[in-house]
Every structure is written in structure tokens, then in C-alpha cells.
Amino acid sequence: MERAARDAIETLLGFVRTLRAAGVGADTGRAAAFLRAVDTLDVTRPEPVYWAGRLTLCSHGADLARYDACFAAYFGGAAPAAAEHARPLATTAPAMWNPPASDDTDTDTDTTGLAAGDTEVLRTADIAALTREERAAVARLVSRISADRPRRRTRRLEPAVHGRLDHRRMLRSALRTGGEPLRLPRRHRSTRPRRVVLLVDISGSMAPYADALLRLAHVVVRGHPRHTEAFSVGTRLTRLTPQMRLRDPAAALAAVADAIPDWSGGTRLGTELKEFLDLYGRRGTARGALAIIASDGWERGDAALLGTQMARLARLAHRVVWVNPHKAQPGYAPLTAGMRAAWPHIDDFVSGHSLDALEQLATAVIGGRREGGVHRA
């Protein structure tokens, strides 16, 4: 009898190991719960064992199909509930981000070493259409954008000028003034920096913009240190944050260029996004973050994979911003397979094709100040 029980436990634990091998996160705690669940049910039939395992060992929709396959393989026979499994939920289309009408720039006094007329042209010109020298000038200007630091609210309350009444302090002060609440102390939820994650596509079709976008990433990393992560995607996912931390933009860009193994290859965005989410995203890098993807959506790989990974990212991140330089072209519609797959999971869709557009990205989307930067010598 003792022996039979030991054998049964061994069998069940073998099943847990099989699941782990298949990529279901069945940790020791869950395995213990599984054994207890089997113990509370009558296990002369396969169904209770199936449900005991599914309820204790799985933790999200993606686990279920794997679980069914493992169950069928390990215990023989089909899984009792070949029900439809979790599909990513459809969401409504993203609210298009309407850039505010550009303010009148006649009064600008640009003293950036270029004639005012030239800068005026450079500010709004599509970077891809510029000559090499102009592009370099724009890149230098990008490095002067001052990006701000997005914040998120926490549960902690702190004294504040505006906000909810702090009843406790109000009562205390009312005690001193004969029960008359003369002062109305207030408090509000304190804020902490919100993480920003940048994924810059540097594949062939994005080559004209890569330099400017990487410089923008550098600006964001420098302006929001310890809370920004930058990655390049192309054919390989590369983390650039350490290189981006250098103060001097030129030095940082040189270090980045050394770190990137895949300048101007083709894009397999879905695969790389999956790698990013598996390695960094689930562990907290993307959780509650402002995620910014700069790519034209020319996906060489499987667009469906990109769709699933974007759905995962959207469920982890606070907001997902997609920067696509082609958006600025008249009559643009998100028709490429990659862009179509990503579309339902995007919160903000912006262009980032020119200096102005990049500045808008840094200020309006990431949130920031329009002081200094391009307007200052």
C-alpha cells in the first residue's frame, strides 16, 4: 500500500517534469498543490486528474494547449476537455495620435551654426530625403532634444497642495482649534518614475532613420537614467542600455555601433519581440512601462507571431507607442502584414520621420518640456 502510494506520487511528479520540459511554469509549489488536489479528488478516472493538474499547474492561456498535449502523451488517451483555449482578446483600434498643429516658428532664433532658413527646412524634412551632411546636422539637433521622465502613481500618499483632504491631519488640527476645521490639509498619491523601453529597428529599410532614432534613444536614456532600457532589433535582439549611458552622444553612438551585430539586415520582429518578452519583459522590464517600438513593420518572418507577441506586450506595458517613419507619407495606411498584425495592440501611432516629429515624440508622447533643446544655442 505504502509502495503503491509512492509509485503514484512518482508518476504524478514525472508528469510535472514533462510539463516543465514543455515550457509550462510548473514550479515546486504548484507541484505540491497538484498532489494535494489529486489527494482530495477521487482518482480512479482520468478526468479528475486532468482537472487537478490543469487547475494547479497552469497559469495562463498559453499553457493550456501544451498541458493538453502533455497529458495525452503522458497518460495516454486524449485530454478530456478539448475545449477551445484562450485566444488573445480583440481590442478596439488604437486612438490615432493627432500631433498638435505646429506652432509658428517664425520667431525662432536658431543659432545652431546653420542658416535659419536651412534649419527651418531641416526641421520638417523627411530624414530619408536628406543628404549625408544634412542628416548629420539633424542627428546633432536630435541630441539636444530634452526628453522628460514619465511617472506612475504609487499607493503611498504624501502631503500635497492639491488633492484629497487628509482627514487625519484635519481632525488633529481641528482638535487644536476647538473642533473647528480651519486648515484643510491635503494629500495625494506620490509618484515614481515610470520605466521606458525603446526597441529600435535598424534593419535595411530603416537605415536612413536609424541614426536619428538611436540618438533619440540616447537622449531618453540620459534624461531618464536607471528607468530606461534601449534595445536594437534587426535580425538579433541587442541590449544597448550600457552603451547608451555614456554622456557624449557621439561616443555613445560609436559604442552602440560596436555592440550591434546586425546593422541593416532583414527584420524578424516577431521572433525578436518574443525573445525580448521572454528574457526581459516577463521579468519586469516591460511591466507597467511605456514601450516604444520604432519600425516600419516590414516583417520578413511570420506576421501572426508578431501579432501574438504584440498582444503579450500590450498586456504587460502601460502604453505601446509605435513609431513608423512611413506614416508621414500622404495616403499611408498600415497595410504591410507586420503592421496589420501589430495594429490592434498599439495605443499611439506616430511618425518620427523628421526632427519635428522626433521632438514631438520626445515631448508629447514620452512627456516633457519644450524648453531648450532645438531652440537653444
Binding site: 490543469r54 494547479t56 477551445e84 484562450a86 481632525l171 516577463r282 498586456r315
Partner: protein, 313 residues
């Protein structure tokens, strides 16, 4: 049809649990019944995930009815914080108390006056505290609805609460409970919930029901609806939800909640069976998105003339 206290102990297995849920008009499949049985028996929170309108909240309500326990509901929303979930002080009454004490001339000892302010009668119990206090008369059922809408901070706080079921109130001391509540969390999967929280729970994905079960659910909810109508509505619901069905690519496919609503609307219109005219007039009960309603209206005839699907096993 109330059960005796300790009803939970009398239920021996999932099949019996399914029968009890059925008595309270909830038609549970094996998975849901096993999940409820294990949640009660093992004392673990139950994490229900599934599309909107699939019956997650209804299951929690039926579970409370089966256990003959009070249902305490905490509806999550963006920005929910501890004060809305745990307790709050009823400051207008505290202020009145203070003024009354001052008027009575008892204002001599300010410290004593202040400690009198933080008394249990001035405490407003919010759902989590209510769930603990209900435990005095036997375990309650705590429903944490739409946990995916709350933020990370709140999730971490809830995790703490679920691990020891105590609330410490600085002015009053710690509230404990003899009978921790049976906890049901629901999520519509708009956001991935932390693994740490799921690790404490039994995870159950609730699928949309098959044709037979959906028809049975509608019939159970609306016994006055004609059989033929119920069949047609269930068939339409199945077809709209099927991802492979030609041409209905909906933003938000209707859940069972919506097909029940639609049937109720059709019954109110006096329909004995579905025809394109009544269907078009009552479509607002089924489809809640403008784009979807356009798409369905264009193909209404195709949706209705389909044969009923083969009964699924």
C-alpha cells in the same frame, strides 16, 4: 433552498458540486465544478480567466449560494487603492463627535478626545475588511472582480492580504478571522496578472460553452422562451464566436451574457422564432460595437439561415 451551515464539508466531490450549482441555476462544466470543489476543499483562491460575458462573476455568485455564504464583492478599477478596498474612517461623523464633545465641555484632555475618535463605530468597512468580519459567522465568499483593471501596486497589496488574511489598523489593532473567506478572482485578460499572485491560486480558463450547453443556459435563465428561438439564438452565438466562421470578424464577439440578453429582448418583442426583422430590431442587445453591428447587419440573413450545428459532445 438554503443548506445547513457547514454545507461545504458535506459536498464529497465535483459531480455533487455541479449538482448543487445546478440547483442554483448555474450549469457548470466539469472544469468549473472541479475548480470550485478544490478551491473550497484546499482553501486556495480561485483565479477565473476568460472572455467577457462567459459567466465568471455568475459562478462566484452561485458558489456563494451553494455554500450559503454572504458574497462580498470588490470591483477593481484603474487607480483603486487600499482605502477603497480595506477601510476608511468616517470623518464627518468623527468631526461631529468632536464638536459634540467640545460643546459638552469635555475638551480638557485632547489626547483622550483624539483616541475616542478612532473607535470601531467610526470605521467604514470596505470589502476586504467586511470579508474578514463576516468570518465570525462562517466563511464568506470574497469576489475580487476584474483584477486585471487594477495596477501592480494593488496586486502586490492583494497578494499580501491573501497570504495571511489579516488587516492591521494602526488605531485599533489587527483584525483576524477564524474563517478565511473562499476567494474568487476574475480577469478579462486585458493585462497579464503577476505570476506571484497566480501561484497562490487555482487557475481556471473558462471557455465559451458549446451549442448544447449554451442553449441549456439560455433555457434555464428564460424558461418562457420558445425552444426554437433558444436554439436559433444559441446557434447564432456559436457562429459569431467561431474564429473560423466566414466573414464575421468581430471586435467583440458576444458572450453568453449577451445571448441571454438578446433572447430576453426577443421574448419581450413577442418573437417565437428568429426572423431577420426582429433580429435587426433587437440586435443592440447582442452586439455592442458600431463596427460589429454594421458587419452583422450586412450578413444577417447568412447568420440566421445556417443550420443548427451538430450537437457537440
Amino acid at each position: 433552498m438554503a443548506d445547513a451551515p457547514g454545507a461545504a464539508a458535506a459536498i464529497t466531490g465535483p459531480e455533487q458540486f455541479a449538482r448543487r450549482l445546478d440547483e442554483h441555476d448555474y450549469l457548470a462544466d466539469d472544469g468549473a465544478a472541479t475548480a470550485c470543489f478544490l478551491a473550497v476543499r484546499m482553501g486556495r483562491p480561485l483565479f477565473l480567466e476568460g472572455d467577457a460575458g462567459v459567466g465568471k462573476t455568475e459562478l462566484a455568485k452561485a458558489l456563494a449560494a451553494v455554500l450559503d455564504a454572504p458574497l462580498i464583492r470588490l470591483q477593481c478599477y484603474e487607480g483603486i487603492d487600499a482605502a477603497q478596498a480595506l477601510y476608511d474612517w468616517d470623518y464627518p461623523r468623527q468631526l461631529l463627535h468632536l464638536r459634540a464633545a467640545q460643546a459638552a465641555g469635555a475638551g480638557a484632555d485632547a489626547d483622550q478626545l483624539e483616541s475616542g475618535l478612532y473607535d470601531r463605530r467610526f470605521l467604514l468597512a470596505r470589502p476586504l475588511l467586511r470579508a474578514l468580519e463576516a468570518g465570525a459567522a462562517g466563511p464568506g465568499v470574497l469576489l475580487v472582480d476584474e483584477i486585471d483593471r487594477a495596477d501592480d501596486e494593488f496586486e502586490a497589496f492583494l497578494l499580501e492580504f491573501l497570504s495571511d488574511f489579516t488587516i492591521s489598523i494602526p488605531e485599533l489593532g489587527t483584525v483576524r478571522t477564524a474563517n478565511p473567506p473562499v476567494v474568487v478572482l476574475t480577469s478579462n485578460r486585458t493585462r497579464e496578472v503577476h505570476d506571484a499572485l497566480k501561484r497562490r491560486c487555482l487557475y481556471h480558463w473558462m471557455p465559451n460553452p458549446g451549442f448544447e450547453r449554451e442553449a441549456a443556459i439560455i433555457r434555464r435563465r428564460l424558461p418562457e422562451a420558445a425552444d426554437r428561438l433558444v436554439h436559433q439564438v444559441a446557434a447564432a452565438g456559436q457562429r459569431l464566436r467561431d474564429p473560423d466562421s466566414e466573414g464575421f470578424d468581430l471586435v467583440k464577439p458576444p458572450g453568453v451574457a449577451e445571448t441571454i440578453d438578446w433572447t430576453a429582448a426577443l421574448v419581450a418583442l413577442g418573437a417565437r422564432e428568429l426572423d431577420p426583422d426582429t433580429a435587426a430590431r433587437s440586435l443592440g442587445a447582442l452586439i455592442k460595437h458600431r463596427e460589429d453591428s454594421e458587419a452583422v447587419r450586412l450578413k444577417l440573413a447568412a447568420l440566421l439561415d445556417g443550420h443548427e450545428p451538430e450537437p457537440a459532445g
